[in-house]
């Protein structure tokens, strides 16, 4: 293992994670395409203008190999792959041209949710369950990632390729996303900001294993298991 790849641990410098993981809704065009005209109708009335964020709180964080519990009352979960950037130092009012200097490195995030059809209200009950945010397997330093805005993300369920996307498809590329987010909120060292996920996210049933691969970053695998009643 080289010094620039460290295990995911919240207390290991230089990539000490703060425990705050932010996701961004609809940064991949697949969701707007899937919603179509519905984006212009109630309850939304108009497509999003500023980045729409959500927080995966500390109870959701999990590591490689940790089982993801499928609640007893749902048949399957959504497993949405994203590239996550780890913030290096306080990032406030960044400009796109220099924003990447505030990124220490990248990792893989598996943003797990109970499938739900509406994005009108924050979906805490669907997205913030214990263990619903595996991430890892390591933080790869920014200088070792040649083109973070053009890397492929692949999701496999039990070894079968079920989703393939590329970070170049994102509506806001990394630097632009950082500029627009830090206009209204400061990101701190160790925060993770996910660049976005593609819709519809792959569905996963208990007994299956999800593996996410991101070129140059690594592979993150987690088994999904039926929750204890």
């Amino acid at each position: 293992m080289t010094p620039s790849r460290v295990p995911i641990a919240v207390d290991v410098p230089p990539y000490r994670l703060s425990g705050s993981v932010y996701g961004v809704l609809a940064n991949h065009p697949s969701l707007p395409v899937m919603l179509g005209d519905a984006s212009h109708r109630p309850p939304y009335h108009a497509p999003p203008r500023a980045p729409v964020l959500y927080l995966k709180p500390r109870n959701t964080l999990a590591g490689p190999g940790d089982p993801v519990a499928v609640p007893a009352d749902v048949p399957e979960l959504e497993s949405a792959a994203s590239l996550g950037m780890v913030i290096e130092r306080a990032a406030c009012r960044l400009e796109a041209a220099t924003a990447l200097r505030y990124v220490a490195g990248f990792l893989i995030v598996n943003d797990v949710s109970i499938p739900h059809a509406t994005y009108h209200r924050p979906s805490i009950r669907f997205k913030a369950r214990d263990g619903f945010c595996p991430l890892g397997p390591a933080v790869v330093a920014t200088q070792r990632v040649a083109s973070p805005d053009a890397i492929e993300i692949r999701t496999y369920v039990d070894g079968l390729l079920v989703q393939r996307l590329n970070t170049r498809e994102m509506i806001r590329p990394i630097a632009r996303l950082l500029e627009d987010v830090t206009e209204f909120m400061t990101l701190s060292a160790g925060d993770v900001l996910c660049i976005g996920t593609a819709a519809p996210a792959p569905r996963v049933r208990p007994g299956q294993t999800v593996t996410i691969e991101i070129d140059g970053i690594g592979s993150l695998g987690n088994p999904f298991v039926r929750s204890e009643p």
């Binding site: 939304y44 500023a50 009108h120 913030a128």
Partner: protein, 256 residues
């Protein structure tokens, strides 16, 4: 017992309230130093974990904003960058039309809660403090509403001044909340009017997420929110918890 966390003379301290002989309020650090309120920098009074907030949890406020009462609690989360303590400054961006305070009872979790029944829920509460959770309605969008740009702004969520032990708050479901803007009473309510009360919220949240010590639930705000402008002093008061003061400042303070 009431406890604060403050910065003073190069270090962070715990402090308790102190009444000076002339009747003015101050505080005493754990090392015995006695200080006036204005001599210290007030931090949120505990190490804050996950910040969980309620929208539209008072029937009158929901009506004020023209919403029907919710079938299920409207929950949203906030990041730690939104926090500051008593006597903090909150920025009002140039050109904004409607920025308002929200005085709320904050419930601080004291020990892990997972699938807790209503009848035992309060056993998981360490204490209470006042929250003032500002919103800028100009930025509302109907995606994950209230969206972060409205409710997760730097320094727009004040907690304090004190963390008051649960044992010293015998009736958390019957506390009067008041907000004064420049000394004038603008907001008035009572936690008895919560749509989803504290026990229910802990029960509901812990049914799908484990709550840990330091997690905090901002229980929502009653009616009476008004626009505030740079220079305004906003004081949120809750029976037995104290007074939480903040000041609205303009872009120039932040070099914008």
């Amino acid at each position: 017992m009431k406890r604060a966390r403050v910065a003073y003379a190069g270090a962070i301290h715990e402090a308790i309230p102190l009444a000076f002989g002339d009747g003015t309020a101050g505080l005493e650090l754990e090392d015995g130093r006695r200080l006036a309120e204005s001599q210290v920098v007030w931090l949120p009074p505990f190490e804050v974990g996950t910040i969980i907030a309620l929208g539209l949890n008072y029937a009158d406020h929901a009506k004020e904003l023209a919403f029907a009462a919710q079938q299920e609690p409207l929950i949203f989360l906030k990041g730690p960058g939104s926090l500051q303590g008593h006597r903090g400054q909150t920025r009002r961006p140039q050109g904004v039309k409607f920025m308002h305070y929200e005085c709320e009872l904050a419930v601080v979790v004291g020990r892990e809660a997972r699938r807790v029944g209503r009848e035992r829920a309060l056993e998981h509460v360490a204490g209470y403090c006042i929250a003032n959770d500002y919103a800028i309605r100009d930025y509302l969008e109907n995606w994950y509403r209230p969206n972060f740009r409205v409710k997760n702004r730097d320094g727009a969520t004040l907690l304090g001044p004190w963390l008051v032990d649960a044992a010293d708050v015998p009736e958390p479901g019957n506390l009067t909340l008041r907000t004064y803007v420049n000394g004038e009473l603008k907001q008035h309510g009572n936690t008895r009017d919560l749509i989803f009360d504290i026990s229910y919220l802990i029960h509901y949240l812990s049914s799908f997420m484990t709550l840990s010590a330091g997690d905090v639930i901002l229980t929502g705000t009653p009616e009476g929110v008004v626009n505030v402008m740079p220079g305004d002093e906003v004081v949120c008061e809750i029976d037995g918890l104290g007074r939480l003061v903040s000041t609205i400042v303009d872009d120039a303070v932040f070099g914008r």
